[in-house]
């Protein structure tokens, strides 16, 4: 289908975009890369009165390391994330996750800020932000605020952003010593939205997890930072310990059913992902994944 009629304004600066958002509120939609917004408009899921195109605001694009923080502008495209040596060095989980986002032609346009503001619960980048303990920087005409990624993502296509706010940047703590990461998803076709996936940032010391941020996606209305993973912290992992965590994960998740998978299938896949994650991060072939979940 085609998008319904709307007005279009190309914002010339952040201040200009904020003026437009202040004036139009929820009648306006911000157009960044358009790779989620345009499909939603073409499918008539949304029909904004005004499109505020922020694509030309170059100050919102770029990746910088400031002390122990990696700052990524909202307009930074997926292809730029994928090729960034700074991200590969300081947040390798993100490099790995972006390779799973759609296809080359989409990655050339899609942006980090756009993906986060769209908040599709099956998409890779919001979950990666939760796993990486990212901070979202949002601005309106009165000022700027910082929101933890976990609090930013509030539901299916829902975020903590107000209609007057613009997502400006994302700040990631740069990875510490002994950090390890794991990303995997199950999808029908490489690049499709996941049926179930996990993005994990961990700290491993002496064969034990001292931190394990296993963030599951496509199994709930937002990325789920698994509480079950706390059962795996500072303990020698045995098949029994893993089985207990796996059962707790099953209890914790409340996946939706759709034409791709039942809730039970998603729960099962999440447990497989947890097992594979532990197996991979600890290098423990004795915990064969898929057999004890």
């Amino acid at each position: 289908m085609k998008a319904s009629a709307f007005s279009y304004a190309r914002a010339t600066s952040v201040a200009n975009a904020l003026e437009l958002l202040a004036a139009y509120g929820d009648k306006a939609k911000v157009l960044s890369g358009g790779q989620s917004l345009m499909p939603a408009m073409n499918l008539r899921l949304i029909s904004p009165e005004l499109i505020v195109d922020i694509g030309e605001i170059t100050e919102l694009r770029g990746i910088a390391v400031k002390g122990c923080v990696l700052s990524i502008g909202a307009l930074t495209r997926h292809v730029d994330l994928l090729r960034s040596p700074e991200i590969a060095a300081h947040a390798p989980l993100l490099t790995e996750a972006v390779a799973h986002v759609a296809h080359p032609a989409v990655r050339n346009r899609g942006t980090l800020g756009g993906s986060l503001a769209h908040a599709d619960p099956a998409s890779e980048l919001p979950a990666s932000m939760v796993a990486l303990n990212a901070t979202i920087v949002a601005r309106d005409q009165t000022g700027e605020r910082r929101i933890a990624a976990r609090d930013f993502l509030t539901g299916i296509y829902e975020t903590a952003l107000s209609a007057q706010e613009l997502l400006i940047a994302v700040e990631l703590p740069i990875v510490q010593e002994n950090s390890a990461h794991f990303f995997h998803e199950f999808a029908r076709r490489h690049g499709d939205y996941a049926i179930a996936g996990v993005a994990t940032q961990a700290i491993v010391r002496g064969g034990l997890f001292t931190d394990l941020r296993a963030t599951f996606f496509a199994v709930g209305d937002r990325p789920i930072l698994a509480k079950a993973a706390t059962k795996l912290i500072n303990v020698r992992i045995t098949p029994a310990v893993l089985a207990e965590a796996s059962a707790a994960l099953g209890e914790e998740l409340d996946p939706q059913e759709d034409q791709q998978a039942s809730a039970a299938m998603r729960r099962h896949l999440a447990k497989i992902l947890l097992a594979r994650c532990v197996f991979a991060l600890l290098g423990r072939p004795d915990l064969t994944p898929g057999e004890r979940v």
Binding site: M1, K2, A3, S4, A5, F6, S7, Y8, A9, R10, L31, G34, Q35, M38, P39, N42, L43, L50, I51, D53, G55, V79, A102, H103, P104, A105, V106, N108, R109, R189, H190, G191
Partner: protein, 161 residues
């Protein structure tokens, strides 16, 4: 602002000035305003890849871009790639390998395959498959398409001094 807006861009090397409604997407602009119907419209939500074109040197989904966003941009469509002779070998390989049947996906496949061959001189079958993963073909089963791209990559390597 719902009224038509002026845009000025370059399409296949030629300057184009037009007035377009904000809701008009780039694919429809190319097809209906410029009669460049080689760009195909399949799903209209970025899944099928039939509308792939080159924008400022990079491939994009023309169904997911507004024509108004291309003001000042340079667009190359399958007509441009074809007429310039840039992909004559790739087109021949598609024909030789039976890499098309109905041909609906072919413009998008060619634009995407050429994008890969420009970035990598020797992609293996896995890389070819990955790069084309966003382009649906409902006829060939893909193997012949991978064959054609691989053949072209090898032939281009052979021609290099």
């Amino acid at each position: 602002m719902t009224a038509a807006m002026p845009i000025s861009l370059e399409v296949n090397g030629e300057g184009v000035d037009a007035h377009v409604l904000p809701r008009l997407n780039l694919a429809d602009f190319l097809r209906e305003h410029l009669k460049l119907t080689g760009t195909h419209v399949g799903c209209e939500h970025g899944v099928c890849g039939a509308c792939t074109v080159r924008l400022n040197g990079e491939i994009v989904r023309s169904c997911l871009m507004l024509a108004v966003q291309t003001d000042g941009a340079s667009v190359v469509t399958i007509e441009g790639l074809s007429d310039s002779g840039e992909i004559v070998d790739l087109q021949a390989a598609f024909r030789d390998r039976n890499a098309l049947q109905c041909g609906f996906c072919t413009p998008g496949m060619l634009v995407t395959a050429q994008d890969l061959l420009e970035q990598e001189t020797e992609p293996d079958r896995e890389r070819i498959r990955e790069h084309l993963s966003g382009n649906y073909c409902r006829c060939t089963g893909y193997q012949a398409i991978i064959d054609a791209v691989e053949t072209t990559a090898r032939a281009r390597m052979g021609r290099k001094p």
